[in-house]
C-alpha cells in the first residue's frame, strides 16, 4: 500500500510500487483525465503535474511519488486557483475556456495533456511568444491536426490571465491608495 497525494487529497492505493501512476489513476481510481496513449512517454496523453511539473504518468512508478503533490485534469481548476490566488475555485480554467471558445478540439482525446501542459506553461510564463508556445507544447501530439487552434487558444488564455492579473493588481493598488 502506497500513499499518494492526488488533487490535494492523501489516499492509500492498492497497487504495487512498480505500477506506473497512470494505471493507479485510470484503473484503480477511475479518473478520466489522464489517459493511455502510448505507454512510452512519447505523446503526452497521460500527463499530470507533479509538484507543478508536467510529468508522464505512464512511465512514472508510484514509488517515486511519495510526498509529492500530484494534480490531474480533475484538479486543475483548484490548482490554478491556488497558484493564482483566486478566492474561489472556478469550474474551468482560462485554458479550458479558450479551447472551447476557439472550438479547438476534434476528437478531444489529446486534451488532457494539452491542458496540463498549457497550464504549466502559462503559470511559468504568462505571456509566451508563438515560438515559446510551440516549443513548450512540442512533446504533445495530436493526430487530428488541431495544433493551429490550440496555439490560438493558448494565446487567448494568456491574454485572459494577464487581464485578470492586471485587474487584481489594480484593485490592490486602489486598496493602498
Amino acid at each position: 500500500m502506497a500513499s499518494l497525494t492526488i488533487n490535494g487529497v492523501s489516499i492509500e492505493v492498492q497497487a504495487g510500487d512498480d505500477t506506473p501512476l497512470l494505471y493507479v489513476l485510470s484503473d484503480e481510481l477511475q479518473l478520466q483525465g489522464p489517459r493511455f496513449g502510448c505507454g512510452l512517454a512519447q505523446c503526452g496523453s497521460c500527463s499530470v503535474l507533479v509538484d507543478g511539473v508536467e510529468t508522464r504518468a505512464c512511465v512514472t512508478p508510484i514509488a517515486s511519488l511519495k510526498n509529492k503533490a500530484i494534480t490531474t485534469l480533475e484538479g486543475i481548476s483548484a490548482y490554478y486557483a491556488a497558484q493564482t490566488g483566486l478566492a474561489s475555485i472556478p469550474q474551468t480554467t482560462p485554458v479550458q475556456d479558450a479551447l472551447v471558445e476557439e472550438q479547438a478540439l476534434q476528437c478531444g482525446y489529446c486534451y488532457n495533456g494539452m491542458i496540463i501542459k498549457a497550464t504549466e506553461l502559462l503559470l511559468n510564463n504568462p505571456d509566451p511568444t508563438d515560438a515559446e508556445i510551440r516549443s513548450a507544447m512540442n512533446g504533445h501530439l495530436c493526430r487530428c491536426g488541431t495544433y493551429p487552434k490550440i496555439i490560438s487558444a493558448i494565446k487567448k488564455a494568456s491574454r485572459t490571465i494577464q487581464l485578470a492579473r492586471q485587474s487584481a493588481a489594480d484593485s490592490s493598488m486602489e486598496g493602498i491608495v
Binding site: I11, L31, G33, M137, N138, G145, T146
Partner: protein
C-alpha cells in the same frame, strides 16, 4: 476512495449536476450495458418516423443518428439539421449513443458520408415529423395546418393568440406510428436559422473538462483487463502468425494473470490493467513469422513486376494524341504505406455469454462490426449488440474491428466481461495500412496550353477483409475485399477536373496477400494519385512558361473546380509567374505550389509555401491554404476544423510518415519510429469554405488532402527546379533528389 472522489473538483458530483442530454444519455447507456433484453435487436425500421425522432413532453426531441462521432462534429451538425426542420432550438434536441439495438442503419461513417448521406435523411425525417405535428395541431385547434407557425416546439396561430398547442402536448413520449415517406417539403435555404452557422459543438465543454467518457473509460462489473499477445509488427498478410510454443510459467509471478489461447490467437487477462500489461510483455511465446515480405527496398519492384489484374477505369477519345502534341511530360512516382495510428490505440469492452454478446468499441460501422462478431462467435447477428463509444480520431479502418473481435474472443473464453486496450506497438504494428502506390502518367498539351491527352497507370493492392484476430483464432484464410470501385484508381482526382478530350486510366490490382494488411486511410490513395498527376500537370505549365494557376484555370470549365482553385490561390495572394523561374544559389530556398484534387465527392484546391534547406535536405512547410467546396456546409466551424485537420495531416504525411518493414515484419512501432507532425513543425493554416447553400451537402472529411499533397510537391519544384518522386520528403530523399 469516496473522499477522493467527492473532494476532487469536477468529479461525479459535478457530472450529475452538469445536466444536459449528452451526460444523461451516457448514463443511460451505462445502465443498459447489461444486455437489456427488453430492446429488440436493430436496426429499427428506417421506414418509420419513430426510428428517427422521438418527441418528449417538454417539447424536446431525441434524434436517432446512425453515424459515429469521430471528432468531426457530425453529432452536432446533424442535430442542427433536425432542429432547423423541427423549428426547435439546439438546446431542445439531443441524440443518444450509436447502438445496433437503437440507431437506424445509415451505413458506415466513411467516405465523408455523415452529412452527405445522413444530412438529407435526418432533414426529411424531421420535416415529416413537423408536418405530422402540424396536422395534429390543426385537428385539435380546428384550423388549417399551413396557417400555423412553430417556434421552439410551441405551435400557434399568428392571428389568434388563443389558438396554441405544443409538440409535447400533441405527442409527448408517444409514438408517431407513421410511415416515413420522404415526401414532406423541406425548408428553403433562405429560411435557415441554424444550418450554415458555426454552432459550437455539444461535446467540447465535457471533453475540455475531462468528464466525457471515451471507450477507454468504460468499466463493467466483474471485468477483466485483457491484452493481445502478438509478435511486434505484422508480416505478410497471407502468412499471419503461428504459435510454436508458449511458456505459461513465464507469467506465474503475476497473481491472477492467465493465458488465453484459441489456435494462434493469444491473449492474457488479469484483474488489474497493469498486471495485464506486464503479463503481455512477460509472456514467452515462440512465434513462426516467415521472411516473406518484400521489405521497403524491394516493395515497388515486386509490385510492378509481379502478376497483376488489369482493369481499364476510364477510356475516352484516343490517347495517341500524346505522340504528336506540342508539350509532353512523362512522370512516375511512388507513395509509401502509411498508418492510421489514432492518438489513443483502439480499445473494446465485450461481455459475451452463451446466447448473446455485447461489444462496445469505436467502430466506424457498427452494423458491419456486428456481422463480423457474429461470424467469429458462431452467433446470429440478432444475438450480438454493438455500441459505438468515441475513441481517438481514427481516420479510416484502423484496428477497431480487430480489437472488438479480440475482446469478444477473450470474453467468450473467460465467461467474464473483458476490456482489451491495444498497446502502442499493437496499433502501429498491426494496422491495416493505407496501401503503397506506384503511378505512371503521360500528359500532353497543345501550344496554346490546352490539355489534349492524359494517361495514368496505377499499381496498388486492395483492402484486407479478414481481421487478424479472426485469422489467428479461427484459421480463416487471409482475403482481400471483393472488387469495388474504391480499389480502382480515382478518376476524379486523376485528371477528372480538367477538360481533356483523350483520357485513359488503367488500374493494376496487385494481389495483396504477399504484402501488409491494407485498408482505407483518410482520402484513400488520393495523396499518391495527385502527387503523380498534379506534378505532371505542373510540369506542362512549366514547359509552356505559364503560371501554374493560370494553366489550370484555362483547362477547367466546371464551376466547382474553378471555385476551389481560385479560392485557394486568392487566399494565398498568388502572384502570377511561371514556377522555378528564379533558382537562387542560397542554401535555404523558398517555393510555392498549387494543386487540385478530391476523394469521391466534393472539390479541393490548395496552395503551399515551403522552405527547403538544400544542404541538410530539411523541408519546412510554412503555410498551407486549403479550399473545399462540399455543397451545403451545415456547420462552418466543423468544416473549418476538418480543413485544418486535413492540411496538418497532409503536411505530416508528405514530410514524415512511412511504414517501415523488413522481410519479416513491420518495424515502425511507435511515435519515434513512425513520427507525425509536431507543434514546432506545424505550418500556418488558412482554411477556406466555398459555401453552396442551394446544393446538397457532399462531404468535407477528406477532400482537400490530395490537392494539398500536390501543392507541397509543386512548391518543392518551384523552390529547387527538381521533382520529388517519392514521399515522405525525408532529408535523405531530398538530398538524393537534389544531387540527381
Amino acid at each position: 476512495m469516496k473522499n477522493l472522489l467527492t473532494s476532487v473538483p469536477m468529479q461525479r458530483r459535478s457530472l450529475l449536476k452538469a445536466g444536459g442530454a449528452l451526460i444523461i444519455n451516457f448514463n443511460l447507456q451505462t445502465a443498459s450495458f447489461g444486455q437489456n433484453q427488453s430492446l429488440a435487436a436493430g436496426p429499427p425500421d428506417p421506414g418509420q418516423i419513430d426510428s428517427w425522432i422521438a418527441i418528449h413532453q417538454d417539447n424536446s426531441a431525441t434524434v436517432f443518428i446512425g453515424f459515429a462521432e469521430l471528432g468531426q462534429g457530425c453529432s452536432t451538425a446533424l442535430l442542427q439539421v433536425a432542429a432547423e426542420e423541427l423549428d426547435l432550438s439546439m438546446s431542445q434536441v439531443s441524440t443518444i449513443g450509436l447502438d445496433t439495438h437503437i440507431s437506424p442503419n445509415q451505413g458506415g461513417t466513411y467516405s465523408s458520408s455523415a452529412m452527405r448521406v445522413g444530412g438529407p435523411q435526418i432533414q426529411r425525417a424531421a420535416a415529416e415529423a413537423r408536418q405530422a405535428l402540424l396536422e395534429m395541431a390543426a385537428t385539435q385547434l380546428q384550423v388549417e395546418a399551413d396557417s400555423l407557425q412553430v417556434e421552439n416546439g410551441i405551435i400557434s396561430s399568428p392571428w389568434n393568440n388563443a389558438l396554441t398547442t405544443s409538440y409535447g402536448e400533441l405527442i409527448g413520449n408517444r409514438q408517431f406510428n407513421l410511415a416515413f415517406t420522404g415526401n414532406a417539403p423541406v425548408k428553403s435555404p433562405d429560411d435557415y436559422k441554424l444550418v450554415g452557422t458555426p454552432y459550437p459543438r455539444n461535446d467540447f465543454p465535457l471533453k475540455a473538462r475531462g468528464i466525457y467518457r471515451y471507450i477507454q473509460h468504460i468499466r463493467l462489473p466483474n471485468m477483466l483487463h485483457g491484452r493481445i499477445v502478438r509478435p511486434r509488427g505484422q508480416g505478410a498478410y497471407k502468412d499471419g502468425v503461428q504459435v510454436v510454443a508458449i511458456n505459461e510459467d513465464s507469467i506465474a509471478t503475476i497473481p491472477g494473470a492467465r493465458v488465453l489461447r484459441q489456435n494462434n490467437f493469444v491473449g492474457v487477462v488479469a484483474q488489474t490493467e497493469w498486471d495485464a500489461v506486464k503479463a503481455a510483455q512477460q509472456l514467452e511465446v515462440t512465434w513462426e513469422q516467415p521472411a516473406s515480405l518484400p521489405g521497403n527496398e524491394n516493395l515497388f519492384e515486386q509490385m510492378e513486376k509481379g502478376m497483376t489484374n488489369e482493369r481499364v477505369a476510364v477510356e475516352e477519345g484516343d490517347i495517341s494524341a500524346f505522340n504528336t502534341a506540342f508539350a509532353r511530360t512523362e512522370f512516375k512516382a511512388h507513395g509509401p504505406y502509411q498508418a492510421h495510428v489514432p492518438f489513443a490505440p483502439n480499445c473494446a469492452v465485450a461481455d459475451v455469454s452463451q446466447n448473446s454478446a455485447m461489444v462496445m468499441c469505436s467502430s466506424q460501422d457498427i452494423y458491419n462490426t456486428r456481422t463480423s462478431i457474429a461470424n467469429l462467435l458462431d452467433m446470429d447477428t440478432e444475438q450480438v449488440r454493438v455500441q459505438f463509444h468515441d475513441g481517438a480520431g481514427t481516420f479510416g479502418h484502423s484496428c477497431w474491428d480487430d480489437v472488438a473481435q479480440a475482446a469478444a474472443l477473450m470474453s467468450s473464453l473467460t465467461g467474464q466481461p473483458v476490456r482489451v486496450q491495444l498497446m502502442r506497438w499493437d496499433e502501429h504494428g498491426w494496422d491495416t495500412y493505407g496501401p503503397a502506390h506506384i503511378g505512371k502518367t503521360r500528359v500532353a498539351a497543345d501550344s496554346n496550353g490546352k490539355l489534349v491527352s492524359y494517361e495514368y497507370e496505377g499499381w496498388q493492392h486492395h483492402w484486407s477483409l479478414i481481421e487478424t484476430s479472426e485469422q489467428t483464432a479461427r484459421g480463416t484464410p487471409a482475403a482481400e475485399w471483393p472488387p469495388f470501385p474504391a480499389q480502382q484508381i480515382n478518376p476524379r482526382t486523376l485528371g477528372g477536373m480538367y477538360d481533356i478530350p483523350n483520357r485513359y486510366l488503367l488500374n493494376h490490382h496487385v494481389p495483396g496477400l504477399d504484402y501488409l494488411k491494407g485498408a482505407w486511410l483518410r482520402s484513400p490513395v488520393d495523396l499518391s494519385f495527385s502527387f503523380v498527376s498534379e506534378q505532371a500537370i505542373d510540369d506542362l505549365a512549366f514547359q509552356l512558361g505559364m503560371d501554374p494557376w493560370q494553366f489550370r484555370q484555362q483547362n477547367i470549365s466546371e464551376y466547382h473546380w474553378l471555385g476551389v482553385l481560385d479560392a485557394a490561390a486568392e487566399a494565398a495572394n498568388w502572384q502570377l509567374r511561371p514556377a522555378a523561374e528564379n533558382l537562387p544559389d542560397a542554401a535555404i530556398v523558398k517555393g510555392r505550389g498549387i494543386g487540385v484534387g478530391t476523394h469521391l465527392a466534393s472539390y479541393g484546391g490548395a496552395v503551399a509555401e515551403i522552405e527547403v534547406n538544400k544542404r541538410s535536405g530539411e523541408v519546412k512547410i510554412l503555410h498551407l491554404y486549403g479550399a473545399i467546396d462540399a455543397g451545403l456546409v451545415v456547420n462552418t466551424s466543423n468544416v473549418e476544423n476538418q480543413i485544418i485537420g486535413q492540411l496538418v495531416q497532409t503536411a505530416s504525411r508528405m514530410l514524415l510518415e512511412e511504414v517501415t518493414f523488413s522481410k519479416t515484419n513491420v518495424t515502425s512501432l511507435d511515435w519515434a519510429s513512425y513520427p507525425i507532425l509536431r507543434f514546432e513543425q506545424c505550418p500556418e493554416i488558412t482554411p477556406v469554405i466555398v459555401q453552396r447553400l442551394n446544393e446538397a451537402p457532399s462531404g468535407a472529411g477528406e477532400e482537400v488532402m490530395a490537392a494539398a499533397a500536390a501543392a507541397i510537391a509543386n512548391a518543392f519544384f518551384d523552390a529547387t527546379g527538381k521533382r520529388m518522386t517519392m514521399y515522405p520528403f525525408t532529408p535523405e530523399r531530398v538530398r538524393e533528389t537534389l544531387a540527381g
